[in-house]
């Protein structure tokens, strides 16, 4: 045992150092959030509850029911039922997400050629039954209105997903998201 080691042992230097750190943290500002009381602002692009994009022009869903999102979804929680409309167009009769099964991978959002689906930054949802989390098309559209109001939604798509479809590229240009960026 060398002399310096002996001195460290006699005077509890290591312990004093450790206590010093404790004392330092004791007086430094707290980093723990008091969650339900104190809420954190989600980072941009956070993935939470699903929403179906409401088309600004038609006021309806943008989704065409191509089923790519459902095909992609690893937890198979998206169910789409389509049919033929009066004018022979494709109609999305039902678009349903079992959100409790979702793993927030956002592969569905990535797959969508029309930017018709987003994961909003709303992450707090709780309830008493599973059925409450079976989101129908109307509920999902309401989510868009609620959590992605104003420019938020389009910015979200623009900044994080940038779908390749020509249709979307054109649309975004004319929409506020673009202007806000500039």
């Amino acid at each position: 045992m060398t002399a310096s080691e002996l001195i460290k042992k006699i005077f509890f230097l290591e312990i004093i150092k450790g206590l010093g750190l404790t004392v330092k943290h004791f007086v430094s500002p707290s980093i723990t959030r008091q969650y339900p009381i104190e809420k954190r602002e989600p980072v941009p692009g956070a993935r939470g509850l699903h929403a179906l994009v409401r088309d600004a022009e038609t006021g309806k869903e943008r989704c065409v029911g191509c089923g790519l999102c459902a095909a992609m979804c690893p937890s198979q929680c998206i169910h789409i039922y389509t049919s033929e409309g009066e004018e022979h167009q494709k109609i999305v009769d039902r678009y349903e997400v079992e959100v409790l099964r979702c793993v927030y991978c956002a592969l569905c959002v990535e797959a969508c050629p029309y930017a018709a689906l987003v994961l909003t930054d709303h992450f707090e949802y709780s309830g008493y039954t599973r059925e409450e989390f079976y989101y129908t098309k109307e509920m999902l559209l309401a989510n868009w209105d609620k959590y992605m109001s104003g420019d938020k939604g389009m910015n979200y798509i623009k900044n994080f997903w940038r779908p390749r479809s020509g249709d979307f590229a054109k649309k975004v240009e004319s929409e506020p998201a673009e202007k806000v960026e500039k």
């Binding site: 029911g65 191509c66 089923g67 459902a70 022979h88 050629p113």
Partner: protein, 827 residues
């Protein structure tokens, strides 16, 4: 065999194959869009391009024959570049609306572009925006997605023999269209949908209903005709959404007719029976299984006690599986103790079996769907096999294309006559005279096969019976000229390989046992093997039903019972001959002749049990109705006209409380205090297998002449001046198919086909309603004025319950020709 090298690998292939076929046979993939095995080489898409050593330019492998010693490279940078460019060009105008195109996911263009395409395109042009042609009932044509591979056009013309589609225009504006841009009006086989590599031709009944990647595909067997095609069924959420043929799969090798492709939805009809019902005071009341079975058990027992088991009869079904028909006859023979069991086959396949036995001493007449291939002469007698057995018909058409002489003796113009090399337009129902006439000429000219005929007994007696069929008399009866008859005879005699074919069944009335016997006589004289006679069993399991012993004279596996039970004629057309009747999966009031006679019989019964999948016309007269599961809802086997037994998987949940027929029978036997010793279908299969001691091949073959004379059907007179002939329509088989919504879009009622001359004579207009009166009844039908039918005759199908054509018809009890004399008035 030809030896060549593809990508450095030595492969061999049949002579006459193309390089593409050689590659595909050896599991080497070469991309292709416009090639189809069934069609002639076309070389239109240039995607199958390959490099061949020693040749300067790359060549289309689908249009280049494989020859010895060729060395082919399929994936060189050069060909890949060419393929890329070709795809780029294909996509110049292509709308790429994949998200709303139902083809996406199984689209050849998508797959190829994914494999070869470059993400950028050098050609920018206006996309094709042509709107889909939604006018047709079953097939939707979106020409904007068409890549002009021409497969649909060629398949329809070359393979289906229809030619309903054409490539119209030149250059960029070329489109696939029916003639004059009208809505598609065709056979509705839907084969074009299967071959189209893009979403240009789509199945309308599937439109926007399911994306291909969600369809779970399972194979099953078609429940309509005796061909026994393999259907590849796509299911989502436990519901069958579509049916398609997969190349090279099943006895049909991927071909399907419209019934198999579109008609499966009869199982979703609102008419399905979902729970047992008992007729209580004139009203059908839903009851529990227990109540229904106890009711039957009590009634049956008291009838057996009072009148003996022979007062109970049963009618089986060619729509039920082998296992079920086996249980049915076992129930009748062991539990009830009666041999009174028969089926619709007695009007058709049963007659063939009878003739087969009389002429050759054989049982279990089978056909070979491929038999027509390569035969020098094919003779079809008063039948349109492209309607009754469409896939067998396709093989006949193909044989004709490949050089067979196709002689069709028929009174009306059909697809078969249109493709025949010789159409002998005989008068309806005169097939026997026609055949006897041929035989008389053969006898007279010594054209018979002496080796065989001289060893047969009674040749001279037989010759004697032919005496009266002199060419002039034959000519007078059949309307065929003497020369024509002689030419046909000579062609038949001089051919080295031949096939004689006809269809026979309860839905036709211009042929009978006599016709089949006359054909067997001709086989003897020609010295042909019995195989040359190809008469397909009519429905999905007619063959199996017969083999399982649903017949009064023999039990399973052709074991004669000794005591012959009552046959269908005695059971249905002799009121009071029975006290109870158990009908499983048959609708005699629609399908069998002489409705009013049958109603009298049904009303005379103490107990009528109808076990079916839907509320049939017959069920409306039942005391007890038992709901059975449909073909897709249970396991079992069907034996097709080839004698091939094929598995039916259970695909969907049974409708309501319905049960498979064998289970119902098992439960009923138990209720009656008997044990059928079957717990599942494997038990039944084991039992059937152990019984198959005497199979068709174990019979010794003999040759016997069965002279037949021409007995016409009802002769027209002044009061009833027109002949009514029953003929099937392409869209239906039996009456169950009329419950298919999809098929009803194209054929929803019985049309009376009438010649223009007759139409004018009776003042009938096309699509107008007419009153048809026979000696037995009156019905109202829509008229279709058509040049295909000869004057003095009208042609009517029986399938449709609401058209009630069976009101007009009669039966002979002996399997004779039963054409009707009718009067026609405007309604």
């Amino acid at each position: 065999m030809v030896q060549l090298t593809i990508n450095g690998k030595k492969v061999s292939t049949k002579k006459g194959n193309t390089i593409l076929e050689a590659a595909l046979d050896n599991n080497i993939k070469i991309p292709h869009l416009c090639h189809d095995k069934r069609l002639m080489p076309y070389g239109g898409c240039r995607l199958c391009i390959v490099e061949i050593e020693g040749r300067k330019k790359p060549e289309a492998s689908c249009a280049t024959f494989a020859t010895d010693g060729l060395s082919v490279w399929t994936d060189t940078p050069k060909v890949i570049k060419i393929r890329q460019t070709v795809l780029e060009l294909i996509l110049v105008h292509h709308p790429l609306d994949c998200p709303v195109c139902d083809k996406a996911g199984e689209c050849d263009i998508q797959d190829l572009v994914y494999q070869y395409g470059s993400p950028r395109t050098r050609f920018v042009a206006e996309k094709n925006h042509a709107l889909p042609d939604t006018r047709g009932p079953l097939v939707e044509l979106t020409s904007s997605r068409c890549v002009l591979c021409g497969k649909c056009v060629r398949l329809c013309a070359e393979h289906q023999g229809k030619g309903a589609l054409g490539l119209i225009g030149r250059g960029f504006p070329t489109v696939v269209q029916p003639a004059f841009g009208e809505a598609l009006e065709c056979d509705f086989c839907g084969q074009c949908i299967d071959v189209c590599p893009t979403g240009a031709l789509m199945n309308k009944s599937l439109k926007f209903k399911a994306r291909p990647w969600f369809l779970e595909e399972k194979d099953s067997i078609c429940s309509f005709c005796g061909c026994g095609c393999t259907l590849t069924l796509g299911l989502t959420d436990g519901k069958i959404q579509r049916s398609r043929g997969m190349q090279d799969r099943g006895v049909n090798r991927g071909n399907l007719c419209g019934r198999g492709r579109f008609g499966f939805d009869y199982i979703y009809s609102e008419n399905r029976l979902r729970s047992p019902m008992i007729n209580k005071g004139g009203e059908l009341v839903t009851v529990t299984w227990d109540e229904a079975l106890n009711y039957i058990s009590d009634r049956m027992k008291s009838i057996i006690n009072a009148h003996g088991p022979s007062s109970i009869g049963a009618i089986g079904s060619p729509r039920c599986t082998n296992e079920e028909n086996y249980c049915f006859q076992k129930f009748m023979r062991n539990v009830v103790g009666s041999n009174n069991i028969d089926s619709s086959a007695s009007f058709g396949y049963g007659l063939v079996e009878k003739a087969w036995h009389m002429a050759f001493g054989l049982s279990g007449h089978r056909i070979d769907l491929k038999y027509p291939t390569g035969k020098e002469v094919i003779l079809a007698i008063e039948s349109d096999l492209t309607v009754t057995h469409p896939v067998f018909g396709l093989n006949i058409l193909q044989a004709q294309r490949e050089g067979s002489e196709l002689i069709v003796a028929d009174s009306r113009e059909t697809k078969l006559t249109r493709h025949s090399t010789r159409w002998a337009r005989i008068k309806q129902g005169t097939g026997v005279v026609f055949l006897n006439g041929i035989m008389r000429i053969m006898m007279d000219r010594g054209l018979i096969d002496n080796q065989i005929v001289l060893h047969m007994k009674d040749v001279s007696a037989f010759e004697e019976t032919l005496k009266e069929y002199t060419p002039s008399k034959v000519s007078e009866i059949t309307g065929l000229s003497r020369d024509e008859l002689v030419t046909i005879t000579e062609t038949l005699v001089h051919a080295k390989t031949r096939m004689l074919t006809l269809s026979i069944g309860v839905s036709e009335n211009s042929k009978g046992l006599d016709t089949v016997l006359a054909a067997t006589n001709l086989i003897h004289l020609l010295g042909e093997s019995p195989d040359a006679l190809q008469i397909p069993a009519e429905y999905a399991n007619t063959f199996g039903l017969y083999q399982m012993g649903v017949r009064p004279d023999a039990g399973p596996a052709y074991q004669w019972t000794g005591v012959e039970g009552k046959n269908i004629f005695e059971m249905l057309y002799e009121p009071y001959s029975l006290k109870a009747l158990y009908i499983m999966g048959a609708d005699p009031l629609v399908n069998f002749p002489d409705k009013s006679e049958i109603i009298t019989t049904l009303k005379s019964l103490y107990l009528l049990i109808v076990q079916d999948i839907a509320l049939t016309e017959t069920a409306k007269f039942a005391h007890v109705i038992l709901p059975a599961s449909s073909w897709a809802e249970k396991e079992g086997t069907y034996t097709n006209a080839e004698g091939v037994s094929q598995m039916l998987p259970r695909l969907i949940e049974p409708a309501g409380q319905s049960l498979p027929d064998w289970k119902i029978l098992k439960n009923l036997a138990r209720t009656m205090g008997e044990d059928m010793a079957v717990h599942d279908t494997t038990d039944i299969v084991r039992e059937i297998d152990s019984l198959r001691v005497k199979y068709y091949d174990s019979f010794p073959m003999t040759r016997i002449f069965n002279p037949v004379h021409y007995v016409p059907g009802e002769e027209p007179d002044t009061e009833y001046p027109v002949n009514m002939v029953l003929r099937d329509v392409l869209q239906h088989a039996g009456s169950m198919s009329t419950r298919s919504k999809t098929l009803n879009l194209i054929s929803s009622e019985a049309l009376l086909e009438i010649n223009r001359t007759d139409a004018d004579r009776f003042g009938i207009s096309h699509n107008g309603y007419v009153k048809v009166i026979s000696r037995r009844g009156t019905v109202y039908l829509k008229a279709a004025v058509s040049d295909s039918v000869p004057d003095g005759n009208v042609y009517v199908p029986t399938h449709f319950p609401h058209s009630a054509v069976s009101t007009l018809t009669h039966q002979s009890g002996k399997g004779r020709i039963t054409t009707e004399a009718v009067r026609i008035e405007t309604a």
